[in-house]
Amino acid sequence: MSASVSTAPSTTPAKVTPSAHTSTGRLGWLVLPALLFFVVFAVVPLIGVFVLSFTSWDGIGAISFTGLKSWTAVLTDPGLPHALWVTFLIIVLSWIAQTPLSILLGVFISGSQKYRAVLAVLFFLPLLLSAAAVSIAYKALLDPNFGLGPGLKLAILTQDWLGKSTLAMGVVIFIIAWQWIPFHSLIYQGAIRQIPTSMYEAAQIDGAGRVRQFFSITLPQLKNTMITSSTLMIVGSLTTFDLIFVLTGGGPNDATRALALDMYLTGFRANQMGLASAIAVILVVVGLILAQVLQRLGGKERNSQLEGA
């Protein structure tokens, strides 16, 4: 917990306590518009995807119940463990690529020097581009015949980036990091600024050096932020679709065919909505498990915080 814990009890009760316990009846209807949208386009579909996973549907014709047929097909298809493995790789590798660099960059832009704020504004630029735009631009930039590498006649940049399995995965991870590291460093920057100076002063008196201060003060104080940031990263990686769809279409040889893309291709390209629904249910389950794990890591005392992600 960050130092602000100590200020919480004194400032919050007066502001948080709802005064109008009797007003529920008059206020209850205000949630209805939002609730209506959420039920129709999130809750019903969530139940629906479960139901559809027991049917056979080509996306146009009639829907017929086929029991466990879709599930048997999905669970015995080697495509599923492969898609899970690809998704797992993207989650883990993009976390490893982003987290240390985001913290480092967050520490850097949290400094008070003016130019660092200017840099932060520039760092944020990639986030304005759509995943489609980023993928298209990188596809051009990495083109083995007409891209940046052959233009500069640099052999190391002139590779069949999207044609080789490991390279394509590397490119996906790099682009995720390129686009999202600035966002996460902004989150870390906000948290770093909340660490009280007194902690560093005390450490200085104790003779702790800069590196020591980073590891024994900054890093532990960032624990909660790290969980918020990691949750966003993991959920983002789990549902990566646009980027891979435009960049590689899942190739080469399905090397980047992650779960969300697998669902789309099975449902809307191969017209097997029943199978795709089963994959979607697996996607939901994986998402819920990951959310639970992260919540546990965060400890019980801060369970409401995760919801902020």
């Binding site: 602000s4 502001k15 206020l27 959420f38 660099l101 759509s130 489609a132 679709f241």
Partner: protein
């Protein structure tokens, strides 16, 4: 929750210009070196995209890729504009405005009720919205597709707008309710003394006081919807209904060998967002810090 609220308030006042602490003004060689290195990593591709988009499609490959063209041309931009860019731009504007504004308004009403009201009903609704944060909503796309077809909405901008509103609700309600909670209770009491209805209090007191948060979530959700790809891809297949990301993708499919033209389309689709970012960057950056660094 209480901790969260207090912490966030500290965060937002800090980013509003109060003296920072922690690593203030200390030299940090590693961070500094990496900061400048990252600047290059961010800017070189963007720089390359922009300068290449002004090169002629025929002669671009012979030139140094990192030097601007000696004879810049607007031909690529003309080609993109001739390919119905204006229509796609308008589609994107309609979808983004049509989804973001209602989403933020109904989320604000819900957030107000959740914070100011009490009882099991509102608690249950809040829990339902929070659940929406843990579930990858993309996974619900197939049943939504079925709903859209049954409602006769396939191939309409409404088919993109309605689910976008629903997907934006959980996070928007969460952030806005944190901010409504920050409004001092005495102000609500004063409004009540003056005989204001809850409806009036909501719009005349809570709405103006949560304005910074409202602007931030509007920008954030607007950006998400503007850049959205999956919903337009699945719910429309008519050329005149394409939104920009989808148009970009089809354009790239048609002109993939004409790299300068493809890059011009990337620049052109990002330009409106860039202009908005230049205008509202302070709001967005400090708002995001306040919203996520809890």
């Amino acid at each position: 929750m209480a901790t969260q609220t207090a912490t966030r308030r500290t965060g937002s006042s800090r980013s509003a210009g109060a003296p920072a602490n922690g690593t203030t003004a200390r030299k940090n060689w590693l961070g500094g070196a990496f900061g400048w290195l990252w600047l290059l990593i961010v800017l070189i591709p963007i720089y390359w995209i922009v300068i290449t988009s002004f090169k002629s499609s025929a002669g671009y490959f012979g030139t140094n890729p990192l030097l601007p063209s000696a004879t810049p041309t607007l031909d690529n931009y003309k080609l993109v504009l001739q390919n119905d860019f204006v229509r796609y731009f308008m589609n994107s504007v309609i979808v983004t405005v049509g989804a973001t504004i209602p989403a933020v308004l109904i989320s604000f009403m819900a957030a107000f009720a959740i914070v100011r009201g009490a009882g099991r009903w509102l608690k249950a609704v809040n829990a339902l919205f929070l659940m929406g944060l843990a579930i990858p909503l993309q996974a619900t796309i197939i049943p939504i597709y079925l709903i859209i077809i049954k409602a006769g909405m396939y191939n309409s901008l409404g088919a993109i707008i309605l689910p976008s509103i629903a997907f934006a609700i959980p996070l928007t309600v969460l952030i806005l309710s944190n901010f409504v909670r920050d409004v001092p209770n005495e102000l609500f009491e004063a409004m009540r003394m003056d005989g204001s209805s809850e409806w009036g209090t909501m719009w005349r007191l809570a709405f103006p006081l949560t304005r910074p948060a409202l602007v931030t979530v509007t920008i954030y959700q607007g950006l998400q919807i503007w850049n959205g790809f999956l919903l337009p891809l699945i719910f429309t297949d008519r050329a005149d209904l394409r939104v920009l990301p989808l148009a970009l993708w089809t354009f790239q499919g048609q002109y993939s060998v004409n790299i300068p033209a493809v890059l011009a389309s990337v620049v052109l689709t990002t330009l409106p967002i860039l202009v908005l970012y230049i205008v509202g960057r302070r709001q967005l950056l400090s708002g995001l810090t306040a919203g996520f660094s809890k």
